[in-house]
Subunit: 309 residues, 2 copies
Amino acid sequence: VALMFYSNDDPADRWRRALTDLMPDLDFRVWPDVGDPNEIDVALVWKPPRGELRRYPNLKAILSLAAGVDAMLRDDSLPDHLPIVRMVDPSLTDGMVEYVLLAVLRHHRMFDHYERMHREARWDYVFPPQAAERRVGVMGLGVLGGEVARALAAHRFPVAGWSRGPKTVAGVECFHGGDGLRSFLARTEILVCLLPLTAETADILNADLFARLPRGAAVVNVARGGHLVDADLIAALDSGHLSGATLDVFREEPLPPDHPFWRHPKILVTPHVASYTVPESAAAGVVESVRRVRAGEPLLNVVDRGSGY
Amino acid sequence: VALMFYSNDDPADRWRRALTDLMPDLDFRVWPDVGDPNEIDVALVWKPPRGELRRYPNLKAILSLAAGVDAMLRDDSLPDHLPIVRMVDPSLTDGMVEYVLLAVLRHHRMFDHYERMHREARWDYVFPPQAAERRVGVMGLGVLGGEVARALAAHRFPVAGWSRGPKTVAGVECFHGGDGLRSFLARTEILVCLLPLTAETADILNADLFARLPRGAAVVNVARGGHLVDADLIAALDSGHLSGATLDVFREEPLPPDHPFWRHPKILVTPHVASYTVPESAAAGVVESVRRVRAGEPLLNVVDRGSGY
């Protein structure tokens, strides 16, 4: 039996080393050199070529190299009967927590404003409120959203979270569903989107949602470009209703050079760098999945294809 | 007996409320309405008029409204025999920790770089190292520097501290003195200055110091403008030896509109907003000082005029 690896974005050699350090007898095969397709029982992949995973008759599980599986699920050639396991990686989580803390602090402490003042040589001596008076809201309370909410609360921000169904996160005021969304938005001055991208959450960051945020709110999107209606964000910034946005994900990546997000004075574009899977840190979880597949034990972190995450 | 208050920058009314909430019988007098000078036993002040504090024959202590007392000590009209107490305020500390964490994360996660790329509409997909691989150094391990170093270490940065004499901070590698400075600088990729401004530390951030930092290092100055040789910083940035700087304090404030720091693409100027004294949070410490003065007990946080801090 062997593991088949496919990704255009992840380092195959580092993955091989990290996995075989923990599981020396692992037969790690990088696409297209996969040998006999009958021998492959696990695929560790990101966006494999269409139909590719149907070539392995004895495949038992698909392990995603990314935490967000929306792009994989859009591929209707994926074998329907196989479990898909999302990536859970402590370094990926740490990286996301760090990026969001930075983005939220930057809006909170008005560095976006001072950056504009710096370019205009203007000394604008204004103080922000203290963290304990700045209400932050996190949409999506999965592995990443939950950790981000906890970290922001640990920094003394009053933090609320919103999710589709009810959840509990220590130190975080939790809202859920359509009714909860209105109350959540009305109290949120800095909004962080960490939702999975599904049919229900596509386009959720739109004019109607922005209008429910208090005037002067800022938005941080680190989930998927498909959550955000680009033109609605620009309109809300230009009207002055929103004060700023930090965007790491886009409908088209790289963001095209003529996109209006570039150079917009109230937007910071970062090139999808909030967080990334670190093989050395993620390998333990992958090895555990491989072990469970081969022992016939139930897998952890399996995607619910019905809800799309 | 009565307390005399003087400041052009601090809100007298909030101070009166905060102090009398805790000490209802406190006679709080705002300059120039100080009444009988013989009745004043404590001065709570920031940069009082020259010679003013010599007018109170029964004055027993000078309480500074700021943590850094260099500006007060430059006034040689201050009565020599009186203790000067520096401001220690939990909110001031929290604000400083928050600002420095933001400034350090911003350099660490390359937001300064992405800000430039944003203005050029350039998608530059490069990842920083993880926090555990980014060495941060804090110069000055007093109340503020010590807390900042601890907070950066809690964020998993490998943190070193440097001070004039030997100090110990849990989780922080501590260097001291002239010999320690070289080793401290050689390993520091993001340098934070939180030193007191004294004859020894004036101009310490100069060409020689910058040359001892590794190539690509960034500098954060939240202490005093007098620590930094402005032209040396610009030369080190323009040569590419340093990658960026965040500056909150300047030799002249507001920073003059024609100063080369403004608009420099590798510098962010913020208008002395890293941290400020919050009366409601600082009042307990002031009340304790007043109580000790009147009970004849030794004061806490007394400035050593010999060393200048």
